[in-house]
């Protein structure tokens, strides 16, 4: 946020209640400076953002390595049960940094706004980002705003980038799953995806399903404090658990066997999936993680996860084994076996 302060006395303040985004808000001129000042800086303000330069000047970190991750958010609708695009864009990127084993430190936020978008909605979204960032202790230290003509966007798109630091030797990677390891998930599957699906206009069914969007670095800290030998962490977002596990088997060159009976799924999500012909294994999550750890530490890790509010429904769901074909397989509740394949095609567009 590079623009200087606008002198309050000479500027009529933004009409947040009735106003709309117009092309001038992305022009780099006074209107943009005002939008940044009265909306973004007001809610997101912190010492780094207040520097007001082209970039944020941040303290260099000592030992360890930096982790950087970026994530664009195009979710439709912008507001959904349990969250909105604002908090989602904060949680999503924090989680991507945290599952690398890093402590998330800072975020950047880039906004693409559509001409005509209501300032009142934008204010709600920015407030939600501010609340999420504050609760997570990860400030948004720099940002950017662009405006596109009406019809060229869909309200607002948000790209966030996160930087974190990982202590020497504490890095995690999807390459580290080993035969014999246990596979755990931190809670019920598919809540975010089905919450979005349930409010999409064309489906029009009502349900109490709420998105699970949450920042997971607190849960991860608890898990690492337990001393369990964690090999892999991942957040199963788009494509769901199935897709994430297939990524890990390929990266690590292993296979997996899941137990269908052990998979935690909220009954309302299960029923909605059944109704729509979807499989909860492929439905997106925004506040869940998969952990793969040494077999002997599985119980210890499970206890640690369950001690944290975001891991209360954690479960051990399977084992890693040798498999040159890198299949993720599952023993079905029925007693047969099947593959849990990569997601094919698009199950649900614009989910995050």
């Amino acid at each position: 946020m590079s623009e200087g302060k606008v002198r309050a006395g000479y500027v009529r303040s933004l009409d947040i209640k009735h106003g709309q985004v117009d092309m001038a808000h992305g022009s780099g001129g006074r209107a943009m400076a005002q939008l940044i000042e009265e909306l973004f800086a007001k809610h997101l303000g912190n010492e780094y953002l207040a520097q007001g330069d082209d970039g944020a000047l941040l303290p260099a970190q000592g030992a360890g390595k930096l982790v950087m991750a970026t994530d664009s958010h195009v979710v439709s609708p912008l507001f959904f049960p349990g969250g909105d695009i604002g908090c989602l864009s904060v949680h999503g990127t924090i989680n991507d940094v945290a599952v690398m084993g890093a402590k998330p430190l800072w975020l950047s936020a880039g906004f693409i706004l559509e001409e005509g978008f209501k300032l009142a909605d934008l204010a709600l979204i920015v407030q939600s980002m501010a609340n999420a960032a504050k609760a997570a202790g990860v400030p948004i230290v720099t940002g950017d705003t662009k405006v596109v003509e009406r019809g060229k966007g869909d309200g607002v798109f948000i790209t966030t980038t996160g930087v974190g630091v990982v202590a020497p030797g504490r890095e995690l990677s999807g390459r580290c799953a080993k035969p014999g390891d246990a596979i755990l998930v931190s809670g019920t599957l598919g809540d975010h995806g089905m919450a979005i699906m349930a409010v999409r206009e064309s489906l029009g069914f009502e349900s109490p399903i709420v998105s699970d969007t949450a920042a997971l670095h607190g849960l991860i800290a608890t898990m690492r404090d337990s001393g369990a030998d964690i090999h892999v962490l991942r957040d199963p977002t788009r494509g769901g658990l199935a897709t994430t596990l297939n990524e890990i088997t390929r990266q690590s060159g292993v296979g997996m066997m899941l137990q269908e009976k052990a998979l935690p799924v909220n009954p309302a999500v299960n029923a909605a999936c059944e109704f729509l012909g979807l499989d909860p294994l492929y439905v997106a999550n925004e506040g869940k993680l998969v952990a793969i750890c040494a077999e002997q530490d599985a119980e210890k890790l499970l206890v640690a996860m369950r001690s944290h509010p975001l891991g209360a429904a954690a479960a051990i769901i399977g084992r890693v084994h040798d498999d040159p074909h890198h299949f993720v397989q599952m023993t079905t509740g029925f007693g047969g076996k099947r593959i849990v394949d990569w997601l094919s095609g698009e199950q649900l567009p614009r989910i995050c």
Binding site: G333, G335, I339, S344
Partner: protein, 375 residues
């Protein structure tokens, strides 16, 4: 889930598997065709075949709506979207069916066609109401299960006086497909497709009842057991078929009695008869042109018939040369017998229609069962 989990109970499955093993005569093999894609999907997804003894084999049938949709019909839908500029609505599975010129409805959408996925025919009517300046066409596919909702949509459009709604009717009839298989030389003459009985359709039978299958049991001496789409339904039906074969009976039995009776849903049948009539001929993918095997819209509702409203000549297009979908749909080959299965033809890049829907034999085997081929 109440009323669902009961039909997926692993303990009950174990008991059924045990009794199937006990009753199946080890001296012979049993080949049963599950007609419906719904059964194919259940068998693959729950691993039902893992619970069957080696001498009880399942053959996948042609009852997958998008699998039997010929290229020429998808081409028509694409032409409507790209050349006539209509808003084309259809069920999700249709979107990826390969058509001519490397296109599919999904690819036509990327080229600017206004193509919408709907969950019900009623959604298409709603879209027509909301977009009075656009012609909205519902690309109606499927067997007897999806036909009554299309009839309702047409009657609803008539009642609302909609001038911008029409239907490209590609509804097909189950009994025609079963006869075509039973009449095929592989079954009748050469015996290269051994067929000891059918698992009869679940949802289709709720509409047409169990009576239409009696002819097949009597005329062709093939046992038919109508079964629900849950895995325990399938297991139970297999046991009932084995008993019929062992006792030398060829009857229609109803495992799905919680939803199906002999006469079916008369109200739905009347509705369908009111809006639709038989087509003299209809091309099926894999089964060629079958006489009186599909429905068209009656002249009374002609204004809602997209084939009459738009210039739409039907052109038959042959399948890809290496594609074995035809033989697979007739039970002559298995997915893994096809040279391009899993190499050129994958769920991401389907060449044949059986690789598209999760009910298709190839997609089901690829997605759930291909580990067996490399083991």
């Amino acid at each position: 889930m109440k009323y669902i989990d009961e039909f997926r109970d692993g303990e009950v499955a174990k008991g059924l598997a045990e009794s199937i093993r006990r009753e199946a005569n080890p001296e012979r093999t049993y080949h049963f065709m599950e007609f419906c894609g719904g059964h194919t999907h259940a068998i693959s997804r729950y691993g039902v075949s893992d619970l069957l003894p080696g001498n009880v084999r399942m053959i996948h049938g042609p009852g997958c709506p998008v699998c039997v949709l010929p290229i020429g019909r998808v081409d028509q839908a694409i032409r409507l979207a790209l050349e006539q500029g209509v808003m084309l609505c259809t069920y999700g599975d249709c979107l990826r069916v390969p058509a001519s010129d490397g296109l599919s409805l999904l690819k036509a959408k990327a080229r600017g066609g206004d193509i919408r996925m709907v969950y019900s025919s009623a959604d298409a009517v709603t879209l027509a109401q909301k977009n009075p300046d656009k012609q909205v066409v519902f690309f109606a596919i499927g067997f007897e299960t999806t036909t009554p909702p299309t009839a309702v949509a047409i009657k609803q459009a008539a009642a609302l006086g909609l001038k911008n709604f029409s239907v490209l009717c590609c509804h097909v009839l189950t009994p025609s497909a079963i006869s075509s298989i039973l009449e095929s030389p592989e079954v009748r003459q050469w015996g290269t497709v051994p067929l000891d009985g059918f698992i009869g359709p679940a949802h289709v039978s709720t509409i047409i009842g169990s009576r239409p299958y009696e002819f097949f049991a009597e005329e062709y001496r093939k046992p038919v057991v109508i079964a629900g789409f849950e895995p325990l339904d399938v297991m139970q039906a297999i046991r009932m078929l084995i008993r019929q074969v062992n006792e030398g009976r060829a009857e229609v039995e109803n495992e799905f009695s919680r939803a199906v009776d002999r006469d079916g849903n008369k109200k739905a049948q009347q509705l369908v008869a009111e809006v639709f009539e038989m087509r003299k001929n209809f091309e099926w993918r894999g089964l060629n042109v079958l006489p009186y095997s599909a429905l068209r819209i009656r002249s009374q509702f002609a204004e809602f018939d997209a084939e009459k409203r738009f210039p739409l000549e039907y052109q038959s297009v042959p399948d890809h040369k290496a594609c074995e979908c035809g033989a697979i749909l007739r039970g002559v080959k298995r997915p893994q017998d096809c040279k391009i299965f899993g190499t050129v033809c994958t769920p991401e890049n389907p060449i044949g229609s059986c690789m598209v829907s999760s009910e298709g034999a190839c997609a089901a085997h690829y997605t759930y069962g291909r580990y067996k081929d490399v083991a």
